[in-house]
């Protein structure tokens, strides 16, 4: 199945349906493998046309760290926003741990991201995302993401 809630792969049209990030803050191009509720493998192709390269840096263009973390996160989102009940939902960051940068990512690189959910309950997803370029580790992080519409149901009574 392709691009539909519960699907096993998503192109850019499916990604735009499944999550709320939009250009210039959308940092995955394709989800080539997805097991809804468990994992996603995504790709992001960086070309010199990206808005940040001319200034980061003029003489040495490379992808800013925050963009890499956002790429990891957006791939991770697809691992649970692909579930029919959460398709298209808004999300919020709760935590980022151990963001590690091992390799510069430059124009022409394809970042392949493997995202794995460790736990997902009551609207909180925890897990890891690992980005590689040509099979070489580039960036990794542990992320915790919340679904505000679900979290709202568990707020303490005051």
């Amino acid at each position: 199945m392709h691009n539909e809630p519960g699907g096993s792969s998503f192109d850019i049209k499916g990604i735009l349906k499944a999550q709320c990030n939009r250009s210039p803050m959308l940092f995955i191009d394709r989800v080539c493998e997805c097991v809804p509720g468990q994992s996603a493998r995504s790709e992001k192709n960086f070309t010199y046309n990206e808005w940040f390269f001319p200034t980061h840096y003029e003489d040495d263009p490379n992808v800013p760290g925050f963009v890499l973390v956002e790429s990891l996160t957006q791939s991770f989102l697809m691992a649970f926003l692909s579930l029919p009940e959460h398709f298209g939902s808004r999300t919020s960051f709760l935590n980022i741990k151990d963001a590690t940068f091992r390799r510069r990512v430059v124009p022409g690189d394809r970042l392949v991201i493997d995202s794995q959910i460790a736990s997902f309950k009551r609207g909180i997803a925890r897990g890891t995302s690992i980005g590689r370029v040509d099979g070489e580790l580039a960036v990794s992080a542990e992320v915790t993401i919340g679904l505000p519409k679900i979290l709202e149901q568990y707020k303490p009574k005051t």
Partner: protein, 80 residues
């Protein structure tokens, strides 16, 4: 580590407060204990005590002291 130590540690870790401050904590008494902080605390407590709380207990969990009462329902006791 006693259950009380484990319980206290969960609050210290979730809200970055000193252990001697936790007994007075209640939901929204500090900015860290908001709705998101609450869910992180609930998940952490479930993991530390290997329990799974009902939605009613999660929404009733409004303070450090009330939480001890609620955890008692899951067999987590705080006897000295």
């Amino acid at each position: 580590m006693s259950n009380l130590d484990t319980y206290t540690s969960a609050f210290v870790d979730a809200f970055r407060v000193d252990a001697n401050q936790v007994a007075a904590l209640a939901y929204q008494s500090i900015e860290q204990w908001d709705s998101l902080g609450h869910m992180q605390l609930m998940s952490d407590l479930e993991e530390r005590f290997d329990i799974e709380m009902d939605i009613d207990d999660i929404t009733d969990f409004s303070s450090f002291s009330k939480g001890k009462e609620i955890l008692g329902k899951y067999g987590v006791t705080f006897d000295a």
